[in-house]
């Protein structure tokens, strides 16, 4: 207990210091939001493995590290060349770059976006967007009960604010690139708010990368609001250093007839926890929540998802696939709630894990809780190895065992990757997955 108190103290004093640096710079509502979240953070404890929701993921190793919190960016610390590999052709001129959680305008390029599209730092919300930001920021990610979210909310500064106004369409993908690089262990708290207006169409790539193998901690929170009839594709690519800690919450709130698709990819990190929660808050909502995690060595990745069907006539589809090698561990916990009255719900969930080594462990727990009649729901989970019959089939065509394993593993991931609509994201992932597994394939 005593230990926990000092660990929290480190973050709490950083919060206090941060509040002072922001004095007089932000709208009153933002100061109040931070202050409410700060009080909750003070009152809450970090979760332990005694907490059912954190049973498999012990955050003590993260809290033990005396991370420094930075609120100022050293200009020119990161060169364009260093981040080039992490950029995407589809968003050359619609890219926002953050270094250790801080907005880096000199590495960003937003020149290709139509004027009405708002993509800015949360520290510089333009006057005309103030109301939208106020209404949505902190409205979905609960800082009341969740310690990490409370902490993130208490120090909201240079986050990303994306607002697609009603009826707008963005052709380019908007890329929010979070780069972590530090000579000493740093904690940062990336924050993203995406508001997709009525009938808008957009896609957003949110990626977390690090050029080195540094130790650092990212505590990220993303809120997504999809208004009536909005179409939003959201790609979340976590390619952190394998010594990084990554705790993240993604909250999605959908209105009538909206269509939201999420691809959540997790490749890096030593301890990774991602909570994703989608609320289908009106009729005729479409939600696709797909995921892929590839872990090796001693990596630990924990995906907790909740899909909350609150109203009738909504469809949700979820496929999460995992590839585990070495002594890695992956957890999938997927809840689907179908609330009273949410008739004609169509909800399908599948989690599949491929174990490439005897030392890897997967835990999977799909949960369906249905309180409505006349619904179509299914869920399933598998944990398995490469099939002998599949390997033999490839061998019988002259493909050597190493290539056969690579091809089948690639195929397993491709099931998710091939659905991604952005070509350069797809290609990057194909390569990243194979590299990660030290496999090579000549695939087009």
């Amino acid at each position: 207990m005593q230990q926990a108190a000092t660990e929290k103290e480190n973050y709490f004093s950083a919060y206090k210091l941060f509040v002072r640096t922001r004095e007089g710079k932000d709208p009153a509502w933002l100061n109040e939001l931070r202050s409410r979240a700060g009080s909750r953070f003070e009152a809450l404890d970090f979760p332990t493995t005694r907490n059912e929701e954190w049973k498999y993921t012990n955050v003590a190793p993260i809290l033990k590290v005396p991370f420094r919190q930075v609120f100022d960016l050293e200009p020119g610390a990161v060169k364009m060349a260093a981040i080039e590999p992490y950029t995407y052709a589809e968003s050359r001129t619609s890219r926002m770059v953050f270094i250790n959680g801080l907005y880096a305008p000199e590495l960003s390029d937003l020149s290709g976006l139509p004027k009405e599209i708002v993509v800015t730092s949360l520290a510089e919300i333009p006057q005309e967007s103030n109301d939208v930001a106020r209404r949505h920021l902190g409205a979905y990610a609960s800082y009341e009960e969740e310690t990490f979210t409370a902490l993130n909310t208490a120090v909201i500064g240079d986050g990303a604010f994306v607002h697609i106004p009603d009826g707008s369409m963005v052709e380019q993908s908007i890329h929010l690139l979070f780069v972590s690089t530090a000579k000493e262990p740093i904690a940062s708290h990336p924050r993203v708010l995406i508001v997709a207006g009525k009938g808008s169409i957009a896609s957003v790539i949110e990626s977390y990368v690090s050029p080195g193998e540094d130790i650092y901690f990212n505590n990220a929170v993303t809120e997504v609001f999809a208004d009536e009839n909005a179409v939003l594709n959201h790609y979340r690519l976590q390619e952190e250093s394998e010594r990084a800690f990554h705790v993240a919450t993604t909250r999605i709130h959908q209105k009538r007839d909206s269509n939201y698709t999420s691809y959540s990819i997790s490749l890096g990190g030593e301890i990774v926890r991602h909570n994703l929660n989608a609320v289908l808050d009106d009729e005729h909502v479409e939600t696709t929540i797909d995921g892929l995690y590839v872990v090796t060595g001693k990596q630990h990745v924990d995906n907790h998802t909740t899909i909350d069907h609150r109203e009738p006539f909504c469809n949700s589809h979820q496929v999460y696939k995992g590839i585990l090698d070495g002594r890695s561990r992956a957890i999938f916990n997927g809840k689907i709630f179908v609330r009273e009255g949410a008739v004609k719900t169509d909800a399908h969930q599948l989690n599949k894990n491929l174990l490439l080594s005897g030392g890897a462990t997967a835990n999977t727990k799909p949960q369906l809780e249905i309180f409505a009649d006349d619904v179509k729901c299914s869920h399933g989970a598998t944990i398995g190895q490469l099939e002998d019959d599949e390997l033999f089939y490839l061998a019988s065509r002259g493909i050597n065992p190493e290539m056969a394993r690579a091809l089948l593993t690639f195929g397993f991931a491709e099931d998710v990757i091939s659905k991604i609509k952005l070509k350069s994201v797809r290609e990057r992932l194909d390569r990243a997955v194979l590299d990660k597994l030290h496999q090579s394939l000549e695939i087009e």
Partner: protein, 251 residues
């Protein structure tokens, strides 16, 4: 080309092949017929090198070499091809990628030039004509969501691309409608020549209306108990298998 002598093979402790003998020369088509469970697929898989079948006795000489010494992928590169009775689905791997990889592995082995995606595309289009396959199959995952007939055509397509020396077709005709049967049979006839050999495993003589075998063998309880010409297939069709008893077995 192939000489099987006194072959015994077991799976999960039970002996399935019990002293099988067979000789196949270049330019020949052999049909192997037999009731369900007689060991036809076992023979096919042993020749291809399936790891769960253990050879306990006998030998298999292929092109002057001990075939049983070679790993399954080596056998394939040496020109042995098995068209599976139940082809496997490989989600996420496109037919084009899969076939090109297989083609290039063999090309490398034979000292021929490997093909890049564009060059291979041309070759594949030619080969697809043989099996009357729609070009949409090129980019679909291997066998995924294919009908039974499409899977069998895909096996013949693979055979057409890889041009094996020894092709073993395990009931490629079973479950096919007349159209698909004609396509498969045409494919095999087109590919058979004086330098290669085909073993057709089947349990209907129907296929043999389209492909004329040089020899017909009856496989029964793990042994070849009778060999003959095409007329043997007719006889089996009319009389069934009951009149056949293993060589040396008491009547």
């Amino acid at each position: 080309m192939l000489e099987i002598r006194n072959l015994h093979a077991v799976i999960d402790g039970s002996e399935i092949l019990k002293g099988l003998n067979l000789t196949v020369n270049a330019g020949e088509i052999h049909a192997i017929m037999g009731p369900n469970g007689s060991g036809k697929s076992t023979l096919a898989k042993v020749l291809a090198g399936h790891p769960t079948y253990k050879v306990t006795e006998g030998e298999v000489i292929y092109e002057g070499r001990n075939l049983l010494e070679l790993a399954p992928d080596e056998r394939a590169r040496e020109g042995v091809f098995l068209a599976f009775q139940y082809p496997i689905e490989i989600p996420g791997v496109s037919n084009a990628n899969f076939l090109r990889m297989a083609y290039n592995e063999k090309a490398k082995h034979d000292g021929r030039e490997e093909l890049d995606p564009l060059e291979f595309d041309d070759l594949l289009k030619e080969k697809m004509k043989i099996v009357e396959m729609d070009s949409s199959f090129i980019n679909r995952s291997v066998n995924e969501g294919f009908s039974g007939g499409e899977k069998k055509r895909n096996e013949i397509l693979q055979m057409a691309v890889l041009e094996p020396k020894l092709a073993v077709l395990d009931e490629t005709d079973s479950g096919l409608d007349i159209d698909a049967l004609r396509v498969v049979a045409n494919g095999v006839s087109t590919l058979a020549n004086k330098d290669n050999a085909v073993i057709l495993v089947t349990h209907y003589q129907r296929l043999l209306n389209y492909i004329e075998p040089n020899f017909v063998h009856v496989l029964y309880k793990g042994q070849i108990v009778k060999s003959g010409g095409k007329e043997l297939a007719m006889e089996l069709e009319s009389k069934g298998y009951d009149w056949i008893k293993p060589a040396g077995a008491k009547a």
